[in-house]
């Protein structure tokens, strides 16, 4: 039976080497080898930990044992934990402080520096340069600005015989201090995104507006701003996603203090999971953060997708 089935095939010319390669675009398993190395790491170090983390969040677990299943127990504990609720509030407060400032300041800088002069190029380089520094250096710099006595701020205030606000130790100012350092650190990205959006506006629109005697303000309001509306939304969402993950600045500048007032969610996760080794609770807190970020990421996806919808 089997012989018979193969007979007609061998009768065909050169069917003995009936390679599947006749169709160069056919799906083939050996092509999978090119993506396999990446997918190995992707699966073991991203997909699996993601699922494992969800699983952990339903368990009471410490470093080495995965512990007992406690259902939503960790989540219930979180929502009764004043420190966690405080950290969620802190995170939102921080996002509120930084994101609008970053977006508006970034837009302002982009509008000012979107020209072909040497000065503009130098200033663009300058405003982006802080972004390449590590959080360690940024916080070191800003602590030395804010620190009493030898700090830059207190020195400047000293010239006028005044006392500088205590940006790190004053409970009502600590988060603002962190926000200032963060804005200084992150202003480069929004500026660059706005710049690349501005450069994509066709020049002839401006020429047409100039022929119509439009004032600079009119041009800005009726041409420039509408053209970069999408970028503005994108910048806001990107910054929300980034600033939700606040950790290093708060940890290094204030340790979350005073009185947990500058403790963001990620720092709560760090404390819970890696200092108190309550892995289940830490995992649950990170799932909450994940959901918050996912909402923002979805919004970003939708904005990117609706590219063609705007007139």
């Amino acid at each position: 039976m089997a012989d018979r089935l193969t007979m007609p095939q061998t009768a065909m010319p050169a069917a003995g080497v009936r390679t599947p390669s006749a169709d160069i675009y056919a799906p083939q398993w050996r092509n999978f080898m090119f993506v396999a190395p990446f997918l190995f790491f992707f699966t073991t170090l991203l997909v699996f930990p993601l699922l494992w983390g969800m699983w952990l969040s339903f368990h009471k677990a410490d470093t080495f044992s995965s512990g007992n299943f406690i259902g939503l127990g960790n989540y219930v504990r979180l929502f009764h934990d004043k420190v966690f609720l405080q950290s969620v509030w802190n995170t939102f407060y921080f996002v509120l402080l930084t994101v609008p400032t970053l977006a508006l300041l970034g837009l302002f800088l982009a509008l000012c520096l979107n020209r072909r002069t040497r000065t503009a190029a130098v200033l663009r380089t300058l405003f982006f340069s802080s972004s390449v520094l590590s959080v360690t250096i940024v916080t070191l710099i800003w602590r030395i600005v804010f620190i009493p006595n030898v700090g830059l701020l207190s020195t400047i205030y000293g010239w006028f015989g005044a006392t500088a606000p205590a940006f790190i130790s004053d409970p009502s100012l600590a988060m603002i201090g962190i926000a200032i350092a963060t804005i200084w650190w992150c202003i480069g990205l929004p500026m660059m995104l706005f710049l690349s959006a501005l450069q994509q506006i066709p020049q002839d629109i401006y020429e047409a507006a100039a022929l119509d005697n439009a004032s600079r303000w009119q041009t800005l309001r009726s041409i420039t701003l509408p053209s970069i509306k999408r970028t503005f939304i994108l910048v806001v969402i990107i910054q929300i996603v980034l600033q939700f993950q606040l950790f290093g600045q708060a940890w290094l500048m204030t340790r979350g203090g005073p009185n947990n007032l500058t403790k963001p969610i990620v720092l709560y996760i760090y404390d819970t999971a890696f200092r108190r080794w309550d892995l289940g609770l830490g995992a649950a807190a990170s799932e909450i953060l994940f959901i918050l970020i996912l909402i923002a990421a979805m919004a970003q996806y939708l904005v990117t997708r609706s590219r063609g919808d705007q007139t």
């Binding site: 160069i24 056919a26 799906p27 083939q28 398993w29 050996r30 092509n31 999978f32 080898m33 090119f34 993506v35 190395p37 990446f38 790491f41 992707f42 170090l45 991203l46 997909v47 699996f48 930990p49 494992w52 983390g53 470093t63 080495f64 800088l109 000012c112 300058l126 340069s129 972004s131 390449v132 590590s134 360690t136 250096i137 070191l140 710099i141 620190i147 700090g151 020195t155 200084w184 480069g188 990205l189 660059m192 995104l193 690349s196 600079r216 994108l234 996603v241 939700f244 950790f247 290094l252 990620v266 999971a273 890696f274 995992a283 990170s286 799932e287 953060l289 994940f290 990421a297 996806y301």
Partner: protein, 282 residues
């Protein structure tokens, strides 16, 4: 007749106002850094007596000599180079192979897999940290180089970037190479890969910078002082700020750690900006 003159005058005034604002902002950008550099050049005792002493001599390089003299700093720099270099190399290899695979080859389940990889872009580090830490504890990867390098290899951004780049290369090149009897790997290696060099540079520099500045994962994975990266090591010396070794010394460390990165940035500015803009508008 006078209207245009007024508007030109108004423009000039507005220009000056904007210029003043931008200059003010750039002072805010630079002043803290200059302050840090200034402090790093001062003797600690003199600073404590009067911070305004920054503005006049005597200056000293003592703090830098002390920084270089701290043996740990060089170990941390070496660790950072190994980790960032290893991760960059690994990312380039994995991303190029996978980018070619996703962009040019067909295999069962390709499109579904690519969508899953895209979803990976939305997963923040924090969502996998706890589990990843536990897995690495079991594997005894903490305080090792592989422990610091491997997590970064799972990031999908490079694959996404390279896939887009490979897709932009005309397919006729592959077809011409197929007619030239080149196999899949040879087409990848000899024909397409050399054409992706700009993307390799962008991705490489971006990855290197990200790894160099990474703080969270090295903080929880490398707990032994010998395995600190420069970023974590620098942070560890900050804890007892203003007391132990003195402000000037800390500032010298900051300059020591920050200057190479800034120089690196000035050199590769073009690629960094491309990568950053590209990363955001995924």
């Amino acid at each position: 007749m006078s209207a245009p003159a007024v508007s030109i005058k108004g423009r000039a005034f507005g220009d000056h106002l904007l210029l003043a604002l931008v200059i003010l902002l750039s002072i805010v950008m630079i002043a803290p850094v200059l302050w840090v550099i200034g402090l790093s050049l001062k003797d600690n005792a003199e600073l404590m007596a009067d911070p305004n002493s920054v503005f006049h001599a005597p200056y000293t390089l003592k703090n830098y000599i002390n920084t270089v003299g701290t043996s740990s700093v060089f170990i941390w720099v070496r660790n950072s180079i190994i980790v960032s270099g290893g991760l960059t190399l690994g990312t380039l290899i994995l991303s190029s192979l996978a980018g070619y695979g996703f962009a040019r080859l067909n295999f069962p389940g390709r499109d579904v897999l690519f969508v899953i990889v895209l979803f990976g872009l939305a997963v923040p580090e924090q969502a996998v940290l706890v589990a990843r830490h536990q897995i690495f504890s079991v594997l005894k990867f903490h305080n090792t180089y592989q422990g610091l390098i491997l997590p970064g290899l799972s990031a999908p951004f490079g694959v996404f970037l390279m896939t887009q780049y490979f897709k932009a290369i005309p397919k006729e090149l592959d077809e011409a190479a197929m007619l030239d009897n080149a196999g899949r790997f040879r087409i990848f290696w000899k024909v397409l890969l050399p054409l992706t060099l700009p993307a390799q540079a962008t991705l490489g520099i971006f990855t290197f910078l990200g790894a160099w500045n990474d703080y969270f994962w090295p903080l929880i994975s490398a707990t032994k002082k010998d395995m600190f990266t420069l970023t974590v090591g620098m942070a560890s010396t900050q804890t007892n700020f203003a007391q132990s070794e003195g402000i000037g010394f800390l500032m010298a460390q900051a300059v020591f750690a920050g200057a190479p990165i800034l120089i690196f940035y000035l050199f590769f500015q073009k690629y960094i900006v491309t990568a950053v803009s590209g990363a955001a508008v995924k």
